[in-house]
């Protein structure tokens, strides 16, 4: 017979419960053998799945095919642009297009900055999302490839203006794969790059200029989690679910606290 709480136990595991209900379920699974076993099972299933499954990205041939299809679609819609498209567009690789889009977004963000002064955080969020998307392009993800924090951390000292917390959480499912320098907000920000399953998580860090930090938000399908430790503002960006993203945030915060002691 299934315990009546089993679905809530699962929701707890998936990070879908509010704090109050979570405490409730923690207490319950402390006394209910069945639910404790269930938690164990779904944890095991997840670990097996994420460890073993092939993660694939779209093959280059498909990417090219999709771009061609989009070209044709645009031609149907705007015959006047046809010739220009065939000559210039078809030869341009996808990311070049994506990049110009990002530049466009940047410009738009800049204009928005001046026009809509009060929502100050918007351009910052746009910059972060752009930087994240840019990092997903081939060869843009990492400057220093290493799974060793003792390699990544010193590298930042020479290449960025800040020295963020760097740690490997492979055991918890967040594999450190390297670091990168990124220029934004008028400084050389440090980016620590993690891999969670098939998902890249970029953790940006830069020196805090003002007291306030943006609220956690979602933009273009990417979640952005902000926090502050000492003089540094951090932002973790990924297309994982909030629960997975905040899991890494908690680990990083715990590490900072430990280091500070």
């Amino acid at each position: 017979m299934q315990c009546a709480e089993s679905l809530r136990v699962q929701a707890y595991f998936d990070g879908e419960l509010d704090a109050l209900s979570a405490v409730d379920i923690e207490r319950h699974s402390g006394t209910c053998d069945e639910c404790r076993a269930l938690l164990n099972d779904i944890k095991q299933t997840r670990a097996t799945l994420r460890h073993n499954l092939r993660y694939e990205s779209a093959p280059p041939a498909l990417r090219a095919r999709v771009m061609r299809a989009l070209d044709q679609e645009s031609e149907v819609k705007s015959p006047r642009l046809q010739r220009e498209r065939i000559t210039s567009r078809r030869l341009r690789p996808f990311w070049q297009g994506a990049f110009s889009g990002i530049v466009g977004t940047g410009v738009a963000a800049g204009i928005a900055f001046f026009l809509l002064a009060p929502p100050l955080m918007r351009p910052l969020v746009d910059d972060l999302v752009s930087a994240h998307v840019r990092s997903l392009m081939p060869d843009h993800l990492i400057d220093v490839v290493s799974t060793d924090k003792h390699t990544v951390k010193p590298w930042f000292a020479g290449h960025t203006d800040v020295s963020p917390v760097v740690a490997d959480f492979d055991q918890q499912g967040y594999r450190l794969i390297g670091g990168r320098a990124d220029y934004f907000d008028h400084q050389r920000a440090a980016v620590v790059v993690y891999k969670h399953g098939s998902h890249v998580v970029n953790v940006f860090s830069w020196a805090a200029a003002t007291g306030s930090i943006p609220k956690n938000t979602t933009r273009n399908g990417y979640h952005l989690a902000f926090w502050k430790t000492g003089d540094l503002v951090y932002c973790a960006v990924s297309d994982t679910a909030w629960d997975e993203l905040l899991g890494l945030v908690r680990l990083l915060q715990d590490t900072s606290t430990r280091d500070a002691r």
Partner: protein, 181 residues
């Protein structure tokens, strides 16, 4: 027009990998998955102006799912006797890369293959929800959007899928001691 295309490339195309992975798990063959992805991207482009809010990934995967359903309907109309899906256990091998992965031992690769086969043998609704939660790492609300079911159904179906996979995994492990591999 130019501008629209560029915005599309910047906002939607970064999720092409997710669309591809999802299509691969839904479709019977890599070729089918490619067709589904291409059709989905085109539909997304045509409907780009209707995109509201920030849930780009869920929006795109919804389109992928719809394109997959359309493709399946068309295939069934063409085929005289549609194959029962659950017997098509070989399909999963398509997801395994044939090039050796230096990071993994051969035992790991065996395990990978087994798991792949087990997932491919799950009923489509269970396979789909497992992939969305565990591989695409979407939350309940996003999954509900993609599959177009209420959150309550997401919860019960996910529970069933996880239990089914676990059962099959153990059955496989039991059988292993008897069977030659």
């Amino acid at each position: 027009m130019h501008d629209r295309r560029e915005r599309f490339e910047a906002i939607v195309l970064p999720h092409l990998d997710a669309a591809y992975r999802f299509a691969r798990w839904l479709s019977r063959s890599p070729g089918d998955a490619d067709d589904v992805v291409q059709e989905a991207i085109l539909r997304a482009f045509r409907g780009f102006d209707t995109l509201r809010g920030s849930d780009v990934k869920a929006w795109l995967l919804t389109i992928v799912k719809n394109c997959h359903l359309t493709a399946v309907t068309q295939q069934q109309r063409r085929a005289f006797v549609p194959l029962p899906e659950e017997q098509n256990v070989q399909d999963g091998h398509a997801m395994i890369s044939t090039t050796p992965d230096p990071e993994r031992s051969s035992i790991d690769r065996d395990e990978q293959r087994t798991l792949d086969r087990l997932i491919s043998a799950l009923p489509e609704d269970q396979r789909e929800i497992l992939v969305l939660r565990e591989i695409e790492e979407m939350d309940y609300r996003e999954i509900a959007t993609v599959i177009n079911i209420p959150i309550g159904t997401v919860m019960s179906r996910l529970a069933r899928a996880r239990a089914a996979l676990k059962t099959r995994w153990f059955k496989e492990a039991d059988g292993e001691s008897h069977a030659m591999r």
